[in-house]
């Protein structure tokens, strides 16, 4: 069977159910790179230009992992736009496949399937027909596979909204699970009940906050400190889209809209005590969006705000100290508010 390698980085964290289902439906075997670890990081850092963001470096590491596994194809789509009106992802996401090809040429990478996705000008199916053609799959089958894949993706989105904690989402993402394969939609998870816990919102790119290495397991750490964590993925899309404009009016980056929308929503939510914005150095969009969120957060004096910017040199101990101090401060404020 033809094997398709998908790096477990960047947009994998958003679209993996779609991608896996699609390829399995057209009769391929999907291979996902292993979870981010030190080796993947080192490989990535060594083979990527220094000035590039950490998620892209990690992505290179994951690709190397797949090349070592000997897959027949790599799947790295060029994601220019994912909305029906004019909008963009990040410039780097458009160029990754070319950059990967040229920086890893010495390793003899397999053929890279890199369809162009720009949904405000071309319907999504065109991109997947391109893939089908490269793999010699008939049009019918591609269309059916995509329809099914979109359905599964929809279920994944739904699951994220209903998940009682981002921990559950992270677990789904970090085991190579087929749970979102068509026959195997997970049962709806009931809310565990979180009364009395302090709620903190965590916003940032999904491939930052859910990657155990980049995020240094932030979600788990907060949870173990007795905090209830909420992320942007857990909010309905409409809410995000209604909210981002209060921070930046002209926003054409889809994923940044989501982050801004989530940040603004949580800042206004009375139940939330603090907001953490996690990003990486050399991330282009973050340099703008981070500043905008910071300014918005200042308007909400009742909420504590923490901006965490990490890269491959960031020490875990330092981050831990800052998080502990942040949580302590919230707890203290909370105590004062309750008069003890």
């Amino acid at each position: 069977m033809t094997t398709i390698g998908i790096p477990r980085a960047l947009l994998y964290y958003k679209y993996y159910p779609l991608w896996i289902t699609f390829f399995e439906e057209i009769g391929c075997q999907v291979v996902i790179s292993r979870n981010s670890n030190k080796r993947i990081l080192d490989d990535g850092v060594r083979n990527t230009l220094d000035e590039v963001c950490l998620p892209c470096k990690i992505f290179t590491g994951h690709t190397i992992n797949l090349i070592e596994k000997g897959v027949d194809y790599l799947f790295i789509p060029r994601m220019k736009s994912v909305e029906t009106k004019k909008s963009f992802t990040c410039p780097r996401l458009v160029g990754t496949s070319d950059v990967i090809y040229y920086s890893l040429r010495a390793l003899n990478p397999p053929t890279i399937l890199s369809p162009y996705v720009e949904t405000y000008t071309h319907p999504l199916i065109e991109a997947y027909l391109e893939v089908g053609e490269a793999l010699g799959v008939e049009k019918d089958r591609v269309e059916k596979a995509l329809a099914k894949a979109l359905e599964v993706q929809e279920k994944f989105t739904h699951f994220k909204k209903k998940a009682p904690s981002p921990h559950q989402i992270m677990k789904k993402l970090s085991t190579v699970n087929r749970e979102f394969a068509p026959a195997n939609i997970p049962p709806h998870i009931e809310d565990e009940g979180s009364d009395g816990k302090i709620k903190i919102a965590l916003v940032g790119h999904s491939y930052v906050i859910y990657d155990p290495l980049i995020s240094m397991n932030l979600i788990d750490k907060l949870t173990s400190m007795g905090i209830e964590v909420l992320t942007g993925e857990m909010l309905p899309e409409e809410l995000l889209m209604q909210n981002y404009q209060e921070i930046l009016k002209q926003m054409h980056w889809t994923y940044e809209k989501e982050i801004l929308g989530a940040a603004n929503y949580y800042l206004k939510d009375d139940q939330i005590r603090g907001l953490i914005y996690m990003s990486t150095f050399a991330c282009g969009p973050a340099s703008l969006v981070g500043e905008a969120i910071l300014r918005q957060a200042r308007k909400h004096q009742d909420k504590s705000f923490l901006a965490l910017v990490v890269d491959e040199h960031t020490g875990e101990a330092g981050v831990m100290t800052r998080i502990e101090a942040f949580v302590d401060m919230i707890k203290r404020k909370e105590g004062a508010a309750h008069g003890n």
Binding site: V94, L248, M251, S287, L288, V309
Partner: protein, 369 residues
């Protein structure tokens, strides 16, 4: 009432913008040419990780306020890069610092709105005539400035009296800047051509030829790139540099044919543009190699997204087309000494390569005899 309008610097574009503002009947206020103070103060009020041009813009704005500006103009894109959001964030920051001003953020989406606002501000009477005149001035002046810059690049390496070209260039640019009517602009253009012709040159030289490519702002803004064009010209290097305001205007109306050709050349390496002019960088590198250039200097702001990608791919292009590329990223911490050393070493390398190539060629010739 006098309306003072200001805009950030980008190379010599101030000449065309000054003309535009004046033609609209407002008073143009030109910030000082970006200098260490601009960079320092601009960086202080900007997000630390933002790309360099943003910070210099901020420095320009602060300087413009010192000069009593009430209205700012900022041209941005609606593209996928950070540039598209410069204006809005800059406005936010400046307002939070307590400045009171009006800002016109110009991009493809806002243009109709901008015209309406301008009409309100300047009065309806005869507005469209004034506006049309302003646009013509913009195009006319930027075109002449572009021509003068190109002549300077291509003359400097042949000049006999050191420094003459730069002097003439500055005089010519000043003429264009001062021209008020279209007739004066035309006269300035003619005079410039004449003045350049009078520069004494030694065309027997066979100079090293270098292209300067990369992110438009740092390529064009000489105060930030340590006047690289003059620096190279004074070393006797022939310089090609395709970007600038005029080229950008041509790009807006889709008349930039050479650039389009470059994009075609770049496609095998970078199929789709990621945002800004990354395909230009790659395409022009190929084109220059085919046209016998000796090397390429690739300039971009530190962490610039499209250009860092272009850089990774350029490594391969450079090998495939056998043309050396020097990559330099610039930010507020860049020092002149380090910059100079790298550029000089690069030109040395190009000279040595040329000598080697010539030796090889004459060896082959000798064998043939």
């Amino acid at each position: 009432m006098e309306i003072k309008v200001s805009f950030p610097h980008m190379g010599n574009s101030y000449i065309a913008f000054r003309g535009l503002v004046a033609a609209l009947g407002c008073t143009p206020v030109i910030p000082d040419r970006p200098n260490s103070k601009t960079v320092k103060e601009g960086s202080k009020v900007s997000p630390e990780a933002i790309c360099f041009p943003f910070k210099i813009n901020m420095g320009d704005f602060l300087n413009a306020f010192e000069k009593g500006t009430q209205v700012l103009v900022m041209v941005t894109g609606v593209g996928p890069c950070r540039f598209g959001y410069y204006g809005e964030l800059q406005e936010k920051i400046l307002r939070s610092m307590g400045y009171d001003f009006e800002i016109y953020i110009i991009n493809q989406n806002s243009i109709v709105d901008i015209i309406k606002r301008l009409r309100e501000m300047l009065g309806h009477k005869g507005f469209y005539r004034k506006f049309w005149r302003a646009l013509r001035t913009l195009v006319n002046k930027s075109k002449t400035a572009h021509m003068i810059e190109r002549m300077a690049r291509e003359t400097r390496c042949y000049e006999v009296n050191k420094g003459e070209t730069t002097k003439v260039m500055n005089q010519c640019l000043q003429l264009v800047d001062q021209a008020k009517t279209f007739r004066e602009m035309k006269r300035a253009r003619k005079k410039a051509i004449r003045m350049f012709r009078e520069i004494q040159v030694d065309k027997t030289r066979n100079p090293i030829k270098v292209a300067i490519l990369g992110e438009i702002y740092v390529v064009v803004e000489s105060s930030i790139n340590f006047s690289i064009e003059e620096l190279l010209g004074d070393m006797g290097v022939f310089v090609f540099q395709p970007s600038g305001l005029y080229e950008w205007l041509k790009h807006l109306v889709r008349l930039d044919f050479t650039a389009k050709k470059a994009v075609t050349l770049a496609k095998p390496y970078l199929k789709y543009t990621t945002g800004a002019k990354d395909q230009y960088t790659i395409g022009y590198t190929i084109k220059c190699s085919q046209e016998g250039y000796d090397g390429v200097i690739h300039l971009y702001p530190f962490t610039c997204m499209p250009q860092t990608m272009a850089r990774t791919i350029l490594d391969t292009v450079s090998r495939d087309y056998n043309i050396p590329v020097l990559n330099i990223s610039l930010d507020e911490h860049s020092g002149e000494a380090g910059f100079l050393t790298r550029v000089e070493a690069f030109i040395d390398l190009l000279e040595r390569r040329r000598v080697q190539r010539m030796q090889k060629a004459s060896l082959l010739e000798a064998r043939a005899i």
